[in-house]
Amino acid sequence: MLRIENLTKTYGAQKAVDDLSLHIRPGEIYGFIGHNGAGKTTTLKSVVGILNFDKGEIYINGSSIKTNPVECKRLIAYIPDNPDLYDFMSGIKYLNFIADIYGVSPDERQEKIRKYADAFELTKDLAQPISSYSHGMKQKLAVISAWIHSPRLIIMDEPFVGLDPKAAFTLKEMMHELCDNGGAIFFSTHVLEVAEKLCDKIAIIKQGRLIKSGTMEEVRGDESLEEVFLELEAE
C-alpha cells in the first residue's frame, strides 16, 4: 500500500529525514514514533505530496507520489497535526467541498456524513462556521473529511490530540474498520500506550534515521514500548 524507499529530506544543511525506508501493507495500522523534531511530520508530509524530498521514492499502491501525485492523492487522506481548516466555511460546506473534490456521490456522502457526524456527536454543529469550532471539533471534522471518500490509506499526524475520550475511542474503531476492509493507516503519535494497543507495526525514528521497526512484538520484546523507546533515545 505504501512503500517509502531511502527517503531523504534536508532543510538547508540539516537532514530532517535520512535514508528512511518503510513498507506498510494493506490491513496494517502502522505507528510512527520519535522525539520532537525527529522527522515524523516531514516524512508524513512527503508521503502525502505536500513536501518535495531530495532523494528516495514514495510509492502508493505502486504509483510514485513524485510522478503521479494526483493519482496517489486519490487513494489517501491526510490529517495534519494542527487542523487548520477553512474557517470561513461551515462544517457541512467543508465536508461537501472535500466530497466534491474526490467525486463522492451525493447519496454516499450523505450517508457517510450522517454516520460519522453522529458517531462524533458533531451533527448539530455542522451548520456552524468552522471558526466557531473548538480544537477538538475541528479535529473531528478533519477525521470525518478524511473518511468521507473511503481512502485506501490514511496518514495522520498526532490524530488523538484534542479529542475527548469518547471521540478517541470512535476514531480507534474507525481505524480498525478501515484496516479490516483492506485499508492501511500510517500515523504518528507521542502517546506510547495508544501506539502499543492500537498498532500492528511500529517504527521509531531518531534524528531523521529509522532506528527500529517491525511488529509490536519484534520492537518491544519483553519490555513495554515506553521502556524500549526511552532506551533507544538514550543511546
Binding site: K45, V48, G49, I50, N52, P69, V70, E71, C72, K73, R74, Y78, P80, N82, D84, L85, Y86, D87, F88, M89, S90, I92, K93, N96, F97, I98, A99, D100, I101, Y102, G103, S105, P106, D107, R109, Q110, I113, R114, T123, K124, D125, L126, A127, Q128, S132
Partner: protein, 532 residues
C-alpha cells in the same frame, strides 16, 4: 507592567518597518529608513498637502472676518471625522480581537493595564490621521494670523484635545461594533454596506466641500454670529485655537474626564467582549442532499465563499464590483451630458471621448484585485489544496476565475450602459467593448501571477496579505500603470493610427499577455504553488 506592555504594543505596530512580513527576517537598515521615508512622504506631503490647501482656502477669509474660531471648529471637525471614523474597525480589531488577548488575560495583569496598552495603538492611529489635518491647520493659522505664546500653547493643546476626542469616539464606536458583531448574522455584508455608505458619504462631502467652503467664507460673519448664539460650545471650542486660556482649561478638563469615563466603561465590558465567541443563535443543521460539483466548481465555490466571508477582502479588493455597475447607471443617467462636456474639452474628437470612456472603465475595474492576495490567504490551510487530488494549476485557475467573473460581468454591464450613450461607430463600440473586457481578463491573470510569485503564508491577520503586502501595491499601481499605458499614447499617435486599429492592437496585446500569463500559471506558477 504597563511599560512592558507598551513596549510589546509598539514593537507590534512598527514590526513591519523592521521585519519583512514575508520572510520574518530583519530588514536592512537602509530598507527600514526607506520605509519610514515613504510613510512620512505619504502622510506629510500627500495627505498633509491636501489639508494645507484646504486650510489655506479657509483661514484667511475666516480670520479676517473675525471668526477664526470657526476655522478651528471646521478643521477640528474634519480631523475628528478622519481620525475616528477612519479607524473604527481597526479599533475593534485592535482592542477586542488580538490573538494574545487570552494569554494576557490569563496573566496577573489588571484588565485596565491591558486596555491602556491596547489604546496606545488606537491613539497612535487616530493621532496620525487627525495630525495630518490639525498640524497644517495650526501652521497655516500661525502663518496667517501671526504667533503669540498663548495661541501656540493653546494650539498645541487643541491638537492634543482633538486626538483625545478621536480616541474617545474610536473607543465608543469600536465598542458598538464589537457589541453588534456579537449579535449579528451576515456580519460581512452588513460591514460592507456600512463601509460603502460611509465611503459614499465621504466622497459626497469631499466633492461638495469646495462649494460649502466658498459659501461659508463669503458669509462668514453671518454664520459665525448664528453659531455663536445657538451653539456656544462650538464657539468656545474654536476659541482654543485662537489662544483663549479659559476655553482651553474648560475643554482640557472636560476631555480628561470623558477619557477617564471611557476607560472605566471599557474596562467593565472588555473582559466579556474580548473573551466571547459570538452569541449569535446557532444555525440549525438540516440534512439535505448536496448538489455534486466538479473539482473546479468546488474550488471556485470555495474561493467565492472566502471572498464573501471577509469584509476586508471585499472592501479592499472588490470595490469595482459595485463601482462598475454604478458607473454604468450613472452613465445612463448623466452620460450624454458628461460625454458632451468631455467632447467639448477635446474639441469634438469623438474618438478620444470613446477612448477616455474605455480607459475610465478600465481604471474603475482595477479596483478589483481579488486574485492578488488569494494564494496568500490560504495561509496555514494551504495543506488542504496541496494534499487534495487536484492539480495546482486547477487551484490557481479557480483563483483567477473569481476575478474574471467578478470583474467581467460588472464590466459587461457598464459597457452596455456606456454604449447606449456613446456617440461612435459600431466598429468603434465593438472594439471599446473588446479592449475593456480583454483588459479585465489580462489584469485578472496579472494579479494571479503577482500573487503566486509573492505569497505570504505566515500572516497573523488577514489584513497583511489583503492590504499591506507588496503584492497588493504591485497589483494596484500596476493596474493604474497599464491604464495610463493604454490611454496616453493615443493622444500622440491616435491621428495616425485611428481608434479602431489602435483598440485592435491593444486588444491583441491584452489577449496575448493574458494567454502568456495563463500559461505561466499552468506551468511555473503551478510548480511554485505546489512547493509552497
Amino acid at each position: 507592567m504597563l511599560k512592558v506592555l507598551l513596549k510589546k504594543q509598539l514593537a507590534e505596530v512598527f514590526r513591519g518597518y523592521f521585519f519583512n512580513r514575508k520572510t520574518n527576517k530583519a530588514r536592512y537598515k537602509a530598507n527600514t529608513v526607506f520605509m519610514f521615508i515613504l510613510f512620512a512622504f505619504i502622510m506629510i506631503v500627500l495627505l498633509g498637502g491636501v489639508f494645507t490647501f484646504v486650510a489655506l482656502g479657509m483661514c484667511g477669509g475666516l480670520t479676517s472676518a473675525g471668526v477664526g474660531w470657526l476655522y478651528f471648529d471646521l478643521m477640528s471637525g474634519i480631523a475628528i471625522l478622519l481620525g475616528a471614523f477612519g479607524s473604527v474597525f481597526n479599533t475593534y480589531s485592535g482592542l477586542y480581537l488580538p490573538k494574545d488577548n487570552d494569554l494576557l488575560l490569563s496573566m496577573p495583569i489588571p484588565v485596565r493595564t491591558i486596555i491602556i496598552s491596547r489604546l496606545l495603538n488606537v491613539y497612535l492611529l487616530g493621532a496620525m490621521y487627525s495630525g495630518v489635518v490639525m498640524l497644517p491647520t495650526l501652521f497655516v493659522y500661525w502663518f496667517v494670523a501671526g504667533t503669540t505664546v498663548l495661541n501656540v500653547i493653546c494650539g498645541i493643546i487643541l491638537f492634543l484635545i482633538v486626538t483625545a476626542i478621536v480616541l474617545i469616539l474610536s473607543c465608543l464606536l469600536g465598542w458598538v461594533v464589537a457589541k453588534i458583531s456579537l449579535k449579528l448574522k451576515n456580519k460581512s455584508f452588513i460591514t460592507v454596506i456600512i463601509s460603502v455608505t460611509f465611503f459614499a458619504l465621504y466622497y459626497f462631502v469631499y466633492f461638495k466641500s469646495q462649494e460649502w467652503i466658498r459659501v461659508l467664507v463669503a458669509n462668514a460673519t453671518l454664520y459665525g454670529q448664528n453659531i455663536k448664539s445657538s451653539a456656544s460650545v462650538l464657539y468656545m471650542f474654536g476659541r482654543i485655537g485662537e489662544g483663549d486660556p479659559i476655553a482651553t482649561a474648560i475643554f482640557t478638563a472636560a476631555t480628561a474626564a470623558l477619557l477617564a469615563l471611557t476607560i472605566f466603561i471599557l474596562s467593565r465590558g472588555f473582559l466579556k467582549i474580548a473573551t466571547s465567541t459570538a452569541s449569535v443563535g446557532k444555525t440549525e443543521y438540516r440534512e439535505k442532499k448536496a448538489k455534486e460539483k466538479s473539482a473546479f466548481g468546488a474550488l471556485l465555490t470555495k474561493e467565492f465563499a472566502r471572498f464573501t466571508s471577509s469584509p476586508n477582502y471585499m472592501l479592499n479588493c472588490g470595490f469595482g464590483v459595485l463601482l462598475l455597475p454604478a458607473a454604468g447607471v450613472l452613465l445612463l443617467i448623466k452620460g450624454t451630458e458628461f460625454l458632451s462636456v468631455i467632447g467639448t474639452v477635446l474639441r469634438g474628437r469623438t474618438d478620444q471621448v470613446a477612448l477616455l470612456l474605455c480607459a475610465m472603465l478600465m481604471l474603475v475595474s482595477t479596483m478589483n484585485e481579488m486574485a492578488a492576495p488569494s494564494v496568500s490567504l490560504e495561509g496555514k490551510s494551504i495543506w488542504i489544496p496541496q494534499s487534495l487530488p487536484v492539480e495546482a494549476k486547477t487551484v490557481l485557475r479557480a483563483k483567477a476565475a473569481v476575478q474574471v467573473i467578478l470583474t467581467g460581468i460588472p464590466m459587461a454591464f457598464a459597457l452596455v450602459c456606456s454604449m447606449i450613450v456613446l456617440q461612435a461607430t459600431v466598429a468603434e463600440k465593438i472594439m471599446v467593448c473588446a479592449a475593456a473586457l480583454l483588459f479585465t481578463l489580462f489584469t485578472a491573470m496579472f494579479n494571479s501571477f503577482v500573487g503566486t510569485k509573492n505569497p505570504i503564508l505566515n500572516w497573523t491577520s488577514e489584513i497583511i496579505p489583503i492590504k499591506q503586502s507588496s503584492t497588493m501595491l504591485i497589483a494596484l499601481f500596476g493596474g493604474w500603470g497599464f491604464v495610463a499605458l493604454f490611454a496616453v499614447p493615443y493622444f500622440f499617435i491616435g491621428n495616425a493610427i485611428g481608434l479602431v486599429p489602435y483598440l485592435t492592437i491593444w486588444s491583441a496585446i491584452y489577449l496575448i499577455a493574458a494567454l502568456l500569463l495563463y500559461r505561466w500559471l499552468n506551468t511555473k506558477g503551478a510548480r511554485m504553488f505546489a512547493e509552497l
